[in-house]
């Protein structure tokens, strides 16, 4: 088991990520627009959800280099949700570690699942 990562999705963070992504989609920013699209409220951006998982695995292996990340998006994270990321090491081959992760939304659903591989030996790039 890897030390879990927790984060609360604040509207101000979602707004800034929208600017960085050049993505003004109102389903992330406007409650009325989100509900008109059939959502319970504004939703977090998918890349932000995946970033939480990356944060967790990088914190678990300081100095390691991320080699691959595979992710599947299964459910939304609402703005205001308290997100928890859980993970575990599923294999190790020499210096390469593979971790599985799940990003859990405020309703307790798996929002993102996937795997990440890291090279433990830090190499200069």
């Amino acid at each position: 088991m890897i030390e879990p990562f927790g984060w609360t999705v604040e509207p101000s963070a979602v707004s800034r990520v929208a600017e960085i992504l050049r993505d003004p989609n109102p389903i992330h920013l406007d409650g009325d627009a989100a509900r008109a699209a059939g959502l319970a409220g504004p939703i977090n951006q998918g890349p932000a959800n995946l970033a939480y998982a990356v944060n967790m695995v990088q914190a678990a292996f300081p100095g390691a280099r991320l080699l691959t990340i595979e992710s599947r998006y299964l459910a939304n994270v609402l703005v205001g949700d308290r997100v928890t990321v859980e993970g575990s090491v599923v294999s190790q081959d020499g210096q390469v570690v593979t971790c599985a992760f799940r990003v859990i939304n405020g309703a307790g659903q798996d929002a993102v699942t996937g795997t990440a591989t890291l090279l433990l030996e830090n190499e200069s790039s």
Binding site: A13, A37, I69
Partner: protein, 144 residues
């Protein structure tokens, strides 16, 4: 109502472009997702997604328009994979190249009919390819 077959866009090369990861955007992204900016100048790895989306030479709406799909009709990203040759660095300019891998129309239990879009984007610098990423989206077509 959509036609029985999706547009033949597999292999379509995207315009591409360049993207520089600025210190300000890396810092703000890190702060926004609960990460500490790396003191040695490495960018948050999720810039593989940000840089490729922002530098592919099309907006997401423009990409979906190639697939004859209106972004207002509820596209959903279903997955993304990335393979890093080396970490991304703040301040470095990356060349973004990409292509549509496939667009397949299939029956959907949820949507009646849906197109499954896969596209591939790479980020390269003067040393060659740094990251290759593939994204998968589902484009609901209703009763196509």
């Amino acid at each position: 109502m959509a036609s029985a077959a999706p547009p033949d866009v597999a292999g379509r090369v995207l315009p591409g472009g360049t993207y520089r990861i600025t210190p300000e955007e890396n810092r703000d992204f890190c702060v926004s997702v609960g990460a500490e900016p790396d003191p040695t100048g490495l960018a948050h790895p999720l810039f593989f997604y940000i840089a490729s989306q922002c530098g592919m030479g099309l907006s997401v709406a423009g990409l979906l328009a190639l697939c004859e799909f209106d972004v207002a009709d509820g596209p959903m990203m279903t997955g993304s994979d990335a393979r890093f040759t080396r970490p991304l660095r703040v301040g470095k300019e990356y060349r973004v190249d990409g292509e549509i891998v496939s667009l397949l129309r299939k029956p959907s239990r949820t949507f009646g009919m849906a197109d499954q879009l896969r596209f591939r984007l790479t980020l390269s610098d003067s040393d060659g390819e740094a990251v290759e990423g593939t994204s998968s989206w589902i484009l609901p077509r209703g009763g196509a």
